[in-house]
């Protein structure tokens, strides 16, 4: 049972990724015109022969399905082609940036849980009180503040208090320096993402607190705290874990902006640069990379959920 479920889910994940690679590939070619056109447009002269040579070098003269085939074969063998702009292998460009973004993302996730979970519980326990309303407004404002604005405000606050702009200028030397540098950006991303967790925790808590076994516990004379934290919270947290996948997608969106504002040389910042330069190989591979991460995280969450909740069976 377990194995067939695993295999089924794994195959589905693989198919999803294959489909996504097609979608990404097509999305990037919606409009005629490629990097060579842009290079020539900005250079202001057009020599058709030269243009052809460059297109050939970059493989843009091949039929579209062959271009796709080369990309996929490359992806599987970790050969992502060359960046049009820097002329470095895309792998060498992306590789060193992954740890930076991974650390930022982990720290942001930490912050989002740190803010989101307790506030969601409090909001549910104190439902419809002034505190609940205030917390709901805070969480909604978390969803409403643009992350770039939040980041800019943090920058401004730092400037006025310390006189220095805490943006990334050189590679930090010690772990402590690194942590300090990442603390503010990840708090900004985490605050926004915490709103999602908080809202879900709140509604999940409220849902659980309406159930019979809570009433049983109440009638047995259990204290409020015991009911809220021993009986309700345990069951309420479970659905919250399922949104880790959505959360991952949400975090990536936040990181794109925040890395740009704080000038952190991570994957997300690089994606924006590559998009602005129309650097196809990089954009294509980076978006695919993001897709793989989100899909794998979703896969793992599904498994974790099935393992955590005995009510879920492995068959459909």
């Amino acid at each position: 049972m377990l194995y067939s479920y695993l295999i089924q889910r794994f195959l589905l994940m693989f198919l999803t990724l294959l489909g996504m690679s097609i979608i990404i590939f097509v999305l990037l070619r919606l409009v005629p015109g490629n990097i060579v056109d842009i290079m020539f447009d900005s250079a202001g002269f057009v020599d058709p022969d030269e243009k052809k040579t460059i297109e050939k070098e970059l493989g843009l003269d091949l039929p579209i399905y062959e271009q796709y085939y080369h990309w996929i074969v490359g992806l599987i063998s970790f050969d992502l082609g060359f960046s049009y702009v820097s002329e470095m292998p895309a792998v060498d460009e992306i590789g060193p940036r992954i740890p930076i973004t991974a650390k930022l993302a982990a720290l942001s996730l930490f912050f989002s849980i740190l803010f989101g979970l307790p506030l969601g519980v409090i909001s549910a326990v104190k439902q419809n009180t002034a505190l609940d309303y205030a917390l709901r407004v805070v969480s909604l404002s978390g969803l409403s503040l643009p992350s770039f604005w939040l980041a800019l405000l943090i920058l401004m606050a730092c400037v006025s208090y310390t006189g220095a702009i805490p943006i990334y200028t050189e590679t930090p030397e010690t772990l402590w320096d690194e942590l300090l540098l990442y603390l503010l950006p990840s708090a900004a991303v985490g605050f926004r993402a915490s709103a999602l967790i908080m809202r879900l925790t709140r509604s999940s808590m409220l849902e659980v607190m309406r159930q019979d076994y809570i009433r049983t516990a109440m009638s047995k004379g259990a204290s409020d705290n015991a009911i809220n934290y021993k009986h309700a919270l345990r069951n309420a947290v479970l659905p919250v874990t399922t949104i880790v996948g959505i959360e991952a997608a949400f975090l990536i969106g936040g990181l794109i902006i925040t890395e740009t504002v704080f000038n952190i040389p991570g994957v997300a910042h690089f994606l924006v640069e590559a998009i602005l330069m129309r650097d196809y190989p990089i954009v294509q591979s980076l978006v695919m990379f993001i897709a793989i991460i989100v899909v794998v995280i979703n896969f793992l969450t599904d498994l974790a959920y099935a393992a955590l909740d005995p009510r879920i069976k492995y068959s459909d």
């Binding site: 999803t16 996504m20 979608i23 969803l143 409403s144 643009p146 800019l152 709140r202 979703n298």
Partner: protein, 297 residues
């Protein structure tokens, strides 16, 4: 007989007039946050519609003298680096935000509804295929997808609307599909089929009207994120191009360079974006509570 009916009619009209305001008052009391949100959205709509009359200056007129002038009696929110009035640019920026926000929500809603209706009513292979594609689209973050689309479509108002609307489609299609799946088994649909109505007529006359409530709930919820995405795209330089004043671009123009010397360039456009999105979100929450009592909380 007729006189009695008339007097009843008159009486009903009277209470109707009073009860209209009474009901609005009651609604505001039941959903105080929703009322605040609706008021904010109303302000934004008002600013967008009457921008030409409300704005104290022309948003594109530059003036060397007023360059980076701090907020004061001349320019309430200060001037930007080219001496343009920030307040006027914010008021005119409401147009872009709303045009893109409402435009992409509507476009995404229409496409999503059509796909959802087709999937839910026909089911089968078509449905399976579309559902898989929707799964795939949902695995990409909204902003990443909008970025890629905006980049490949090129910067213009229409393209920005399209770039934001497509990532909104999957959610709408999902919700509509699941609604249709339950609706299509209900007796009134069966009855319509029994009298020989065409599929098209059943779907549009009988099923679609019953999916309106969830559609409105979803639409108001998506409005906020659409406005936010437009601001983010413009901030990154991929949104609506000049000369339209866009809130997101106002921030990117001023970003790190002017943080030290002209904080008002950062503060006011940011407040505008946050307030608009916040209002839309508050309104969306209230609409959800109002139309879908099961989801309360």
């Amino acid at each position: 007989m007729s006189s009695i009916e008339n007097s009843e009619e008159v009486g009903r009209n009277k209470t109707k007039n009073r009860s209209k305001w009474y009901r609005i008052k009651r609604l505001c009391q039941t959903y105080p946050l929703g009322a605040i949100g609706s008021f904010i959205v109303f302000l934004v709509v008002f600013a967008a519609v009457f921008a030409d009359f409300v704005a104290p200056y022309d948003p594109t007129t530059t003036s060397a003298k007023m360059s980076l002038s701090p907020p004061g009696s001349d320019m309430l929110f200060g001037g930007d680096m080219m001496g343009r009035d920030v307040l006027s640019r914010i008021i005119h920026g409401a147009r872009i935000s709303l045009a893109v926000g409402i435009g992409s929500t509507l476009l995404g809603g229409v496409i999503g509804t059509i796909i959802g209706l087709m999937c839910g009513y026909w089911m089968g292979l078509f449905d399976l295929l579309i559902q898989r594609i929707i799964d795939m689209m949902q695995a990409l973050p909204l902003l990443v997808m909008a970025l890629v689309m905006a980049a490949s479509l090129g910067p213009s108002l229409e393209n920005t609307i399209i770039a934001i609307s497509i990532p909104l489609v999957p959610q709408v299609a999902r919700v509509i599909r699941s609604n249709v799946l339950s609706l299509r088994e209900l007796p009134f649909v069966e009855a319509a089929r029994a009298v020989g109505m065409s599929d098209l007529r059943i779907v549009f006359r009988h099923i679609l009207p019953n999916t309106l409530a969830p559609l409105i709930v979803l639409g108001t919820a998506q409005l906020g994120s659409a406005i936010l995405t437009e601001a983010s795209l413009s901030f990154l330089g991929l949104g609506v191009p000049e000369p339209y004043p866009s809130w997101g671009r106002m921030l990117s123009e001023s970003a790190a360079e002017y943080v030290r010397v002209a904080p008002w360039l950062v503060i006011f456009p940011g407040i505008a974006i946050s307030a608009a999105v916040f209002g839309a979100n508050l309104m969306g929450d209230a609409v959800r509570d109002f139309l879908d009592p099961r989801n309360q909380g």
